[in-house]
């Protein structure tokens, strides 16, 4: 099976937000990056599929030079080679531009299966994978928990809301967006890191004519618009007042 895994480099979970001067993006100077968590699970799933069915796992990433960090990590964990659409503009690109960039790079390869994380931990549009499927002309399903390969087709377990699930049969080639936490991530070993140095990372330029589908007007820290209402009185009185307000004002009971 020829499997592509699209991975994104995002700021670490511990990152404290700081904005650039015109507040249209984050201040990149002090940011540390890591592999987008759902993408890491997608990569692990791809590696397991290769272990079971043979083939090749190709990591695909669109971003500035710094995304080499996550590409190398993916190669160290066992991916065979990589495609890197390398352009500074991709650092803050929206889902549409990212998908178009990857589609242009991946189109010729004719992957049997493309896996992406269900959304990114930075912009979180939850669109890229689905747009990519449309651009590659392959069927898709989202929020996938399990993949079974049956001949030239797959059966996938899709997560629905509220504890419901659904199995779906699809032909290959196909694209799936993967839910976090569905497997256990393997470590990159020292041997893996050494081997990764010899693996191919093909650089591809960004196609010139891509227009973003949305523009960030401003970023801000979310502010609380409400004032804290302190409720006084004896326990019984306070309880009564609280329940009243929760029922009538906040309407959460």
């Amino acid at each position: 099976m020829k499997i592509a895994v699209c991975i994104k480099q995002v700021p670490t979970r511990e990152w404290q937000p700081r904005l650039n001067d015109d507040k249209t993006w984050i201040r990149e100077q002090d940011v540390s990056y890591e592999m987008n968590e759902p993408d890491a699970y997608a990569l692990e799933e791809a590696l397991r599929l290769r272990e079971k069915h043979g083939g090749e796992v190709v990591v695909c990433s669109a971003g500035p030079a710094r995304v080499q960090q996550v590409i190398r990590e993916a190669l160290a964990r066992g991916a065979d080679r990589a495609l890197h659409v390398d352009d500074n503009a991709l650092g803050s690109a929206d889902a549409f531009v990212t998908a178009a960039a990857l589609a242009a790079a991946m189109g010729d390869e004719r992957f049997d299966l493309v896996l992406t994380g269900l959304q990114s931990d930075d912009q979180g549009h939850a669109q890229m994978g689905v747009i990519l499927a449309e651009q590659l002309g392959v069927p898709h399903s989202t929020i996938i928990m399990e993949i079974q390969v049956v001949d030239a087709a797959i059966r996938v377990k899709r997560e629905l809301e509220g504890g419901w699930f659904q199995w779906i049969a699809m032909p290959l080639p196909a694209l799936l967006t993967i839910q976090s936490g569905i497997n256990q991530l393997r470590y990159a070993t020292l041997k893996g890191i050494m081997a990764a140095k010899k693996k191919e990372i093909r650089k591809i330029p960004l196609p010139g004519s891509l227009q973003p589908a949305q523009q960030i007007v401003a970023l801000s820290m979310p502010t609380r618009s409400k004032q804290t209402q302190m409720i006084a009185g004896s326990p019984a009185e306070a309880a009564r007042e609280l329940v009243r307000r929760l029922r009538e004002e906040a309407r959460v009971l």
């Binding site: 990152w15 540390s32 041997k191």
Partner: protein, 545 residues
């Protein structure tokens, strides 16, 4: 895995050693050496914290075109000020003591500097393995064979998880230990080999640091401020630094000697008190704390540096204690000892003799270098401060005039032995009292440890055994009455807490995931029963520090 030279620790010492080896290889040719650097942090610089004002002398030798190569210099030093603080006032030293004159030096973020250095190292094709901690030294008799990295994928109950990966033995002809202040491997070496035999006891301090964004216009970029006095008592070693990285971004820190006698003293509270001083509060007012961290410093000086060469091994940087406590600088010494270690290692390998006798050339190089000419004259200064602030200042003054000559070598002691016991009869309740130097925190200027620790970006895999090993049961028996559980005070990251069992017996709770890898507990515990070992990954994220 086998290499020619293994460098443990990817800080300024280790990276300078790696780079120097690459340069020697290029210049002198011959059989290419395989070189690897092991760094426990997830990425280069993540665990690097310092003030810092860099003396560029070593950098200029290692990378003469450092500016063209984009070395991250925040600001060139423009102005030096030294203040003596009382609770409400400040008195400026009319003359800056020569060791504290920083003209020609640069204010940097060590974290960013190390990141940049690592890029230079990797550009030479040297393997930089980040996220790999060396757990144990591999030895055969007195010979260093290499190190063993830590197992990964062990649950908090000690079981192997499905992702378990055993540690890897990395053997090398020469291992250069650059594992930092109170490095766990260097500590092991000092235990297994008589490296510290005829040396004075090592001494340390802890530095707490914050980065602040402040309204512009209060202080010019390149301003260097040091303070003495308040809030420390006369007999307590320490002081503060404020470095203006720009006119709106400050590096602010407080150093406390880890040799204070009051077990209820809290270094973090001293930092808070310092910020409450009107001069500091005015500087920081309406500003925002953006990062916090802490790290120990090796303060003992020349006489406390152990033997740094052994069969198949060398020690460089803070791990060896190469810090000038009078100038408050160690980065250039870490770099230079790293470079010299590289040179010694290179020559030894080419000569096919990596014995201690052959590697002694490293010590000879140090003795012939600016490292000795800088550290030897101030070898007694920190020990003089052991007699109090005024004694220390007086001695420093005399020392400058005599070039460090003094009729005797001043004795020092390991700091944790100076901690006094509580008066008898206090029971174990002392830990519930506020620290002796407690002050109120407002969470805008001053913070509690837990809030501060959040801004260190520290995180660890939760499902792993605690990496802080406490070897006896003193916590539930004698520590309470004798010292009042000082770990709760001296840890700047809220790792240690004392809980009570139903019958009132104290129980130590270790919040290992808060650890910022400062090593204070390993140093300052009065019973010396705490051993810090590297956790499985994790640690602080000291961006900009």
């Amino acid at each position: 895995m086998e290499v020619d030279v293994l460098i443990v620790g990817g800080g300024p010492a280790g990276l300078s050693a790696a780079l120097r080896l690459a340069q020697l290889q290029t210049a002198q040719g011959g059989e290419p050496l395989s070189i690897a650097v092991l760094e426990k942090a997830r990425e280069a610089g993540a665990h690097s914290l310092s003030g810092a004002v860099l003396d560029p002398s070593a950098l200029r030798e290692l990378i003469p075109d450092f500016r063209e190569r984009g070395a991250p210099i925040a600001a060139d030093v423009h102005a030096d000020h030294v203040y003596f603080l009382t609770e409400h006032a400040k008195f400026e030293f009319p003359i800056i003591p020569p060791p504290l004159r920083n003209h020609g030096n640069h204010i940097i973020s060590l974290n960013q500097f190390v990141r940049w250095l690592a890029e230079q190292v990797e550009a030479h094709g040297i393997d930089f393995f980040s996220g790999f901690a060396a757990q144990d030294v591999l030895m055969e008799g007195t010979r260093i064979l290499g190190v063993r990295t830590g197992d990964r994928g062990i649950s908090r109950h000690g079981e192997q998880k499905p992702t378990f990966e055993p540690g890897v033995d990395i053997t090398a002809k020469i291992t250069i230990f650059c594992d930092g202040v109170r490095g766990n491997l260097t500590k092991e070496l000092l235990r297994r080999l008589p490296l510290g035999a005829d040396r004075a006891p090592q001494q340390f301090a802890v530095g707490l640091k914050e980065l602040w964004d402040i309204p512009p216009g209060r202080v010019a970029a390149g301003t260097v401020i040091h303070t003495l006095g308040y809030p420390l008592a006369e007999e307590q070693f320490g002081g503060a630094f404020i470095y203006a990285m720009s006119d709106r971004h400050l590096s602010l820190g407080f150093v406390v000697g880890l040799d204070y006698s009051d077990p209820q003293f809290d270094p973090h509270m001293a930092f808070n008190r310092f910020k409450q001083h009107p001069f500091i509060a005015a500087l920081l007012g309406d500003g925002q704390m953006v990062r916090y961290g802490a790290k120990a410093l090796p303060e003992g000086g020349w006489n406390t540096i152990p033997r740094t060469y052994m069969d198949g091994g060398l020690i460089a940087g803070d791990a060896g204690g190469f810090l000038n406590s009078m100038r408050l600088k160690g980065i250039h010494l870490a770099m230079r000892t790293g470079m010299l270690a590289a040179e010694a290692a290179f020559d030894a390998i080419r000569a096919n003799d990596t014995s201690a006798a052959s590697l002694k050339r490293y010590q000879d190089k140090i003795d012939a270098s600016p490292v000795r000419s800088e550290l030897y004259p101030v070898r007694n200064v920190h020990q003089a401060f052991g007699h109090g602030l005024w004694a220390g200042l007086a001695f420093s003054g005399v020392s400058l005039l005599t070039g460090g000559w003094w009729p005797v070598e001043l004795q020092g002691e390991a700091g944790h032995t100076r901690m006094h016991r509580l008066p008898p009869g206090r029971g174990s309740g002392a830990v519930n009292e506020p620290a002796s130097n407690a002050t109120s925190v407002d969470r805008r200027l001053t913070f509690d440890k837990l809030t501060n620790v959040h801004y260190s970006g520290t995180a660890h895999e939760e499902d792993q055994p605690s990496h802080l090993l406490v070897h006896t049961e003193v916590c539930s028996t004698i520590c309470g009455p004798e010292y009042g559980h000082p770990c709760v005070r001296f840890c700047p990251a809220n790792v240690y807490e004392i809980m009570r069992e139903a019958d009132g017996t104290p129980r130590l709770q270790i919040n290992a995931s808060n650890c910022v890898h400062c090593k204070t507990c390993d140093i300052m515990d009065p019973y010396a029963v705490i051993t810090w070992v590297p956790p499985e990954g994790g640690g602080p994220q000291y961006n900009g520090m």
